[in-house]
Amino acid sequence: MKVLDRPSESDAGVALDEPVASQLLVDRARRSQILPRLFRSKTATIGVIVLLLVLVAAAAAPWVAPNDPFAIKLIQRLKPPAYANSAGITFWLGTDSLGRDVLSRLIYGARVSLIVGLSAVVISGTVGLLVGLLSGYFGGWVDDVFMRICDIQLSFPTILLALTIMAVLGSGLDKLILVLGLTGWVQYGRIVRSQVLSIKNDEFVLAARATGERQWRIIFQQILPNVWSPVIVIASFTVASNIVAEASLSFLGIGVPPSVPSWGTMLADGRQYIGVADWLTIPAGVAISLTVLSINILGDWLRDYLDPRLKNIV
């Protein structure tokens, strides 16, 4: 799908024909309607609310968390939900095997999940976008080289590749982001490439070329605005899959260090106590499920919204 509100077209002196101009107006009108349309969908609204809650919890964790998530107090370990200690502090979700507040760790864990999810998407999206743009636009040997690299990367299961790299680099939030970012760019690259191939011979690109526009300006000013939509949709789904990947790698003990609260490490630490202290795993499991579900619902809605064939349905 093309986004036709290209300011550079008029700069280039290309006159818009009537149907294109009217389409442009329709699209602008749709964009201004995005929030009302979003809230018209009940599932999407629920998704947004849950996601907003997680975002607020993550951003305001130091103020929202009732206790220090790192404070170890062995005397109050493995206390059940709603336990109140002698100082009158209530631990609404109980305490873990080192006496730390589960609720506070859950809130701080949202930070890790979202930071990893979003940062890795920025890295993979940027790399994939660049590869797709260059590969699709230039074609030839550039395309061959990039696509073969894609093929090689696709031949490794992502989680296995991430496991191997993390085993070599060691654990840590920065490394985790880097690994997930660098293992997730291929799908962006392929989609963007196919989009570029479909529009690179369109009139507005040819017109830009005819006016002597430099190639990098054509790529970034003419083509890039027209390939955003699928990238946004993929990004929404990738945030969810990155959150799950972070949880999986942390669960396997090679994500973030054990003292850092993350939903994955909470699950891993709590699994051996599942028979005696299920409050260690259930909150983290629910948090992962709800967050991922919300992002996926929102991604679904976004895909439908950006799909011209469903324009009148969404």
Binding site: I72, L74, L98, G170, P258, S259, Q272, Y273, G275
Partner: protein, 522 residues
């Protein structure tokens, strides 16, 4: 219609009969005992691993062994006699054979000791500990069942060094005809269990050896499987798909018992400590910093809250009965710890982390997860204690048990600043002191102290046993004060044992299968 029903009924009866007949051998044969170990074996060649003593001494046999009470008893050897302080004559039991039928005789013993010498000289194998402890020049044959061990220096506790699995007696023909690579996972020994097969991920399959010197072990078939995660080991025991695990967390004792699994709690001589690696961070070379780190640790709190009060905090360098009862562990005293760090010139910065000459007191700490009781949890608690006195653990890393085994096998190569660790008992004071002796393979801290070395040398060559107690106590007191490690405790061992298995726990926590498996019922 009736005939059809008859045919169907007859076919069903035949099928049932076949089924019942087919199941008869399965009922008659006992199910193998499944032992869940925490890591895959590094090697099954005794000279190439220190980390797999459970299985090595189930397959192999040494000249002397530790029985289940920890007493040194003759095994392949029948007796030993000191000819002079440098010469010992060893008689070998008659009529013993290896699993492949080769006879156990003087040739086998001489071959074994020669092989160890050659491998060690070539820098191969994992023999630093064994040959660092037993300083022999060579072994020579006197007759078919008698050998002479010629030492390079006097050693009054020679038999305690012969129990080390690395010096398991090997069949000369088999180990000469095959390269170390070929025999690494195809061992032939003289122990209670014969090797059948090994596949990583599937397990090590063992079968009772009917010509074992103590008679055929009571359990016929054993499979040793590597399951690194404690949680998975516990799940398998609860599900009834395994029979034995070591290291049940204290918190889960009642959970396992509720699921019909026996949990045996046995006192053990396994000493738990945190190794302080020298040569990396300059602060750790300063005895005041090491003492401060010890004073900052509330060991009693860990022992009580995390280990159910079953661990005993001590200067766990030497095991009972040689541990000096008057030697008190470092008392929990964070203020004293801070003062020691101040005296050493490490001053707290704005973020609370101490620094000196621009270098932060910021350390790396590696821990295993499930190799020792609550090891990962204890590591986090220790990091918290040290944070309170201005020592930062910048990277607390969980390492795989197998990686830990490899690093231990290479004398701590790969250790960063701090590494949780353990040491089994030697049952002699001299042997336990090897933990910090510079030539010993178990000194993975690279801690070298000339005063201690001279004390140890004098003690290790003293034949007058009346002097041993004082020498042992003096050495303990000196090392305790130098704090080459973070002293913690001797931990109890929690065994998870299925209802059908009869198990005898050893005080050293080792699971020599031919000695600890006492029977299985179906």
């Amino acid at each position: 219609m009736k005939s059809m029903r008859k045919i169907r009924t007859s076919m069903l009866a035949v099928a049932l009969a076949i089924g019942v007949l087919a199941s008869v051998p399965a009922i008659a044969e006992s199910k193998p005992v499944i032992f869940l170990n925490n890591a895959e074996p590094v090697s099954l060649d005794p000279m190439f691993t220190q980390s797999d003593s459970h299985v090595i001494l189930s397959i192999h046999e040494t000249l002397f062994r530790l029985d289940n009470a920890g007493k040194i008893v003759p095994a392949v050897a029948e007796s030993i006699k000191m000819v002079d302080p440098l010469n010992w004559e060893i008689k070998i039991r008659p009529n013993l054979v290896f699993h492949n039928g080769e006879p156990i005789n003087a040739d086998a013993v001489v071959f074994t000791f020669d092989r160890a010498t050659k491998l060690f000289a070539a820098g191969q194998g994992d023999l630093t500990f064994a040959l660092g402890a037993l300083k022999y020049d060579h072994m020579e044959k006197i007759d078919d069942l008698t050998v002479r061990l010629v030492m390079t220096e006097p050693d009054p506790i020679i038999t305690s060094h012969m129990v080390n699995p690395e010096l398991s007696i090997l069949p000369p023909k088999y180990y000469t005809e095959h390269s170390p690579e070929e025999v690494a996972f195809a061992p032939v020994g003289a122990g209670g269990y014969k090797f059948v097969s090994y596949k990583p991920g599937e397990g090590l399959v063992l079968k009772a050896f009917d010509k074992y010197r103590l008679g055929k072990p009571p359990v016929d078939d054993v499979i040793v499987k590597a399951v690194p995660e404690v949680a998975t080991r516990i799940s398998e025991l609860k599900a009834g798909t395994a029979d034995l695990m070591i290291g049940v967390p204290a918190d889960l004792k009642s959970d396992l018992e509720g699921a019909g699994v026996n949990v045996i709690v046995a006192p053990s001589y396994r000493r738990i400590f945190v190794a302080i690696k020298q040569g990396r961070h300059p602060a750790l070379a300063d005895v005041r910093v090491r003492q401060a780190m010890n004073y900052a640790v509330n060991c009693e709190e860990i022992a009580t809250a995390l280990l159910g009060g079953m661990a005993k905090c001590s200067i766990d360098l030497i095991n009972t009965p040689y541990q000096d009862p008057n030697l008190k562990p470092f008392a929990y005293d964070p203020e004293k710890a801070k003062k020691l760090l101040d005296d050493a010139g490490w001053v707290a910065g704005s973020d609370g982390v101490r620094a000196k000459n621009g270098e932060r007191l910021s350390l790396n700490f590696d821990t295993t997860d499930g190799s020792y009781l609550m090891d990962k949890e204890i590591a986090q608690v220790l990091a918290d204690y040290w944070k309170a006195i201005g020592i930062e653990i910048k990277d607390l890393r969980v390492i795989d048990s197998a990686v830990n085994s490899q690093m231990r096998a290479k004398q701590g190569a790969g250790y960063r600043d701090l590494m949780n660790s353990s040491s089994g008992p030697d049952y002699t004071c001299q042997g336990d002191l090897l933990l910090v002796q510079k030539d010993s393979g178990s000194n993975r801290m690279s801690w070298v102290d000339d005063t201690f070395e001279s004390m140890f040398k004098a003690f290790n060559q003293e034949f007058d046993q009346s002097k041993w107690e004082k020498m042992c106590n003096d050495a303990q007191a000196y090392v305790a004060e130098q704090a080459p490690v973070i002293w913690l405790f001797t931990e109890p061992t929690f065994y998870g044992v299925s209802k059908r298995l009869s198990y005898e726990a050893r005080p050293d926590g080792r699971a020599y299968l031919n000695l600890v498996l006492k029977g299985v019922t179906e």
